[in-house]
């Protein structure tokens, strides 16, 4: 016979709690968005040069993919915990882990996006006298946008989920509510944190999909 929790019989959402914590919820959502945006933004800043270098030197590609793969395999809680002795329970610790996770997805999507540019197009650009750098930003990158944005979307949705775990190292945005709910055995914050985190993931995903439509007008039909 399972013993119920103290919260058994408790409603899933106490609306009075929600309405009296409106400011906290807004602040947590803002922090969640910030943590995610910084992680994906920094991830892109690191992933781009990494992917370009990996494309230039094939032997480096194996190393970059293996290293980012190892980072990705380490469970989030462990990755955050490894940096706690160095940087404490801080935002820096959280961001190091979050950025680490985005790298595999971003590097892979940038590489496969650039690889997907048809050889004919590349040759035509070269024939028209495009230098490698100009060919990259004027021809190859725009054509790779759909694949790269798909990677950014995946990285963003993943990061929104992982930010909840940073609640355990004193950050967490909406994840802090989930942990508060676990610690005080109180359902409402668990539900509020979970639902808003999923909602944030969907909103961010839809926003990025919209941004892609604006960026690639030629792909619209």
């Amino acid at each position: 016979m399972p013993l119920p929790l103290a919260s058994a019989g408790e409603p899933w959402v106490r609306w009075d709690w929600v309405s009296s914590h409106g400011d906290d919820i807004a602040a947590a959502a803002r922090q969640h968005t910030e943590l995610t945006a910084i992680a994906v933004g920094l991830g892109l800043c690191i992933a781009f040069p990494l992917a370009l270098a990996a494309r230039r030197w094939r032997r480096l590609e194996a190393v970059v993919l293996a290293a980012t793969g190892v980072l990705f395999t380490i469970p989030s809680l462990a990755l955050f915990a490894l940096f706690v002795p160095v940087y404490g329970l801080s935002r820096l610790t959280a961001e190091i882990g979050l950025v680490g996770y985005t790298l595999l997805i971003l590097v892979r999507s940038i590489l496969s996006g650039l690889e997907g540019v048809p050889a004919d197009v590349r040759e035509a650009a070269r024939g028209m006298g495009y230098r490698p750098a100009r060919q990259l930003y004027a021809i190859e990158l725009p054509l790779a946008v759909p694949v790269i944005v798909a990677g950014i979307r995946l990285a963003t949705v993943t990061t929104v989920g992982l930010v909840t775990v940073t609640g355990l190292i004193g950050q967490g945005g909406l994840g802090a509510f989930i942990i508060q709910g676990i610690n005080f055995d109180f359902r409402t914050p668990v539900v509020v944190g979970s639902v808003l985190s999923v909602a944030l993931a969907f909103v961010a995903d839809a926003g990025l999909a919209g941004a892609q439509r604006l960026l690639t007008p030629w792909a619209r039909r």
Binding site: P2, F72, P75, L77, A78, L89, I179, G193, S194, V198
Partner: protein, 242 residues
């Protein structure tokens, strides 16, 4: 350097290797829980995904399941399972919600990889098999399944790594496993224990990844084993972290 020598000292302390709270028992809990959840999820998800893929139905459902599965944080699933089910009862304190949460997390990547693997089988190959007079069952067993295996196994790999990772988080919802060292270390402000636990968890995750990769090499037909497709497959499936 003194921090690292503290970590070494932690690992060489005999009491950390004995009893319910020792490393071997926590490791056993972690592996047993992950394996149970993964096997149960595979038993449901793989036949389901394979069947849907074979019949070419339910693509919309599978796609949405995968997307929603990716958007729901593992911590949220654990916390909700704990609140819905309670902590006590078989098979041990905190184990039931953790098992159910891990099961729920493993299902979407398994279903979608099985489904996508079956759908990616070349239509010409399928038609040729039908032209040779194969029945639906023969087509499924002899043609589609072997060709779908690389993707199916990629899904198993994703799910296995994710389950092991989330089992770490289950320490937050009162269960054991290797995550206990990290979570208790946070509570006691014991950085050495936190770091030692993190190392153990990281090593276990790598070993899991490598073992499933080994299994993948064993079961995937030799003709389908090329590096290029493996990289592409993982990219197409979408990767997942926990």
């Amino acid at each position: 350097m003194s921090f690292l020598s503290d970590v070494v000292a932690w690992f060489s302390t005999a009491s950390h290797w004995q009893g319910e709270a020792g490393v071997p028992h926590r490791l056993f809990e972690h592996v047993a829980m992950s394996a149970a959840a993964l096997v149960a999820a595979a038993a449901v998800a793989l036949p389901g995904g394979i069947w849907l893929g074979h019949r070419g139905r339910g693509g919309w459902l599978v796609l949405n399941l995968a997307n929603v599965g990716r958007a729901v944080p593992s911590l949220a699933i654990l916390a909700l399972a704990q609140q819905a089910i309670g902590l006590s009862g078989w098979p041990g304190f905190g184990a039931r919600p953790a098992l159910i949460a891990l099961f729920a997390l493993a299902v979407p990547p398994l279903v979608s990889s099985a489904y996508v693997g079956m759908r990616e089988v070349d239509a010409d190959v399928r038609e040729a098999a039908q032209g040779m007079g194969m029945t639906g069952g023969q087509l499924l067993r002899r043609v589609e399944l072997p060709l779908a295996l690389p993707l199916v196994m990629a899904g198993v790999r994703t799910a296995a790594v994710q389950v092991v990772a989330t089992a770490t988080l289950a320490a937050v919802t009162a269960w054991g496993g290797l995550g206990r060292f990290i979570v208790d270390g946070f509570a006691q402000r014991d950085d050495v224990q936190v770091f030692a636990g993190a190392l153990l968890v990281a090593v276990l995750a790598m070993v899991t990844e490598l073992s499933v990769a080994g299994l993948q090499r064993l079961v995937v037909p030799a003709g389908l084993r090329t590096r290029a497709t493996r990289v592409k497959d993982t990219a197409r499936l979408g990767v997942q972290a926990a």
